[in-house]
């Protein structure tokens, strides 16, 4: 499929992991969407950036550590881009070295431009 024929869809992740199920089920959707050869990107804004924090260990929680999927989203699941909002990271005292995978860190204006290009925005 040519790039022009692909539909651009973006997951907009604004919730922290574990406190609610949104992030976990968002990942499940990202993984499935990857199989359909569309242009799927993922952005993390606000508390969503916590989902990418290194060193998550859910053993004491007794729940699955679903963050393991983030580092393989692009290579194994054909996700086009992972964007993280720069200002949200800074507000929370996080640096790119705190993140578990390589991402594209964009400021709000640049991320906004990306959002404008999307056919559908899926908030989680």
């Amino acid at each position: 499929m040519s790039e022009q024929e692909k539909t651009k869809v973006m997951f907009v992740c604004r919730t922290a992991p574990y406190g609610t199920i949104y992030e976990q089920e968002a990942i499940e959707a990202m993984v499935m969407f990857g199989a359909y050869e569309q242009d799927v990107s993922v952005s993390f804004i606000g508390d969503g950036v916590y989902s990418l924090k290194k060193g998550q260990d859910t053993s004491l929680l007794g729940k699955k550590n679903f963050s393991m999927a983030y580092p393989i989203l692009i290579d194994d699941f054909e996700i086009s881009h992972i964007y993280v909002e720069k200002e949200s990271l800074e507000e929370r005292g996080l640096k790119d070295s705190d993140l578990m995978t390589e991402v594209e860190i964009l400021d709000r204006n640049a991320l906004k431009q990306k959002m404008n290009e999307m056919k559908a925005l899926l908030p989680f």
Binding site: T7, V9, I21, E25, E28, A29, M32, F33, A120
Partner: protein, 116 residues
């Protein structure tokens, strides 16, 4: 216009389905096509067949079934449903259960996708 709808909340903890329902009715009255309603997260509970609200309360499950009779496609995510016990035996209509690919399909084939 073809409108896709994503419902992420259940029928009681949040107002989402009520806003969505009123939006959908208005859209249909204005001549727009509802391309499909996809139920994800706790949204799958809206299609639980054993819901039995008090008689003086709105029965969202029935209202949605009425939309279905008017030709609106309702899609309950199989994975989110299974996790919450919304399966073949408990969903309003077995045919409504489908995969997440249907959500992407909805995004592709709808002019707009609105999340509630």
């Amino acid at each position: 216009m073809k409108l896709g709808v994503l419902i992420k909340e259940g029928p009681y903890m949040h107002q989402a389905i009520d806003t969505a329902y009123n939006f959908i009715i208005a859209a249909m009255e204005e001549g727009h096509e509802i391309n499909g309603i996809f139920f994800y997260n706790d949204g799958v509970y809206n299609r639980c067949a054993t819901l039995e609200p008090p008689r003086d309360e709105r029965n969202i499950m029935k209202l949605l079934t009425e939309l279905e009779l008017k030709g609106v496609r309702l899609i309950v995510c199989v994975a989110a449903g299974k996790r919450r016990g919304i399966v073949n035996q408990t969903v309003c209509k077995v045919e409504e259960i489908s995969g997440l690919g249907q959500l992407l399909e909805l995004c592709i084939t709808s002019d707009r996708t609105v999340t509630f």
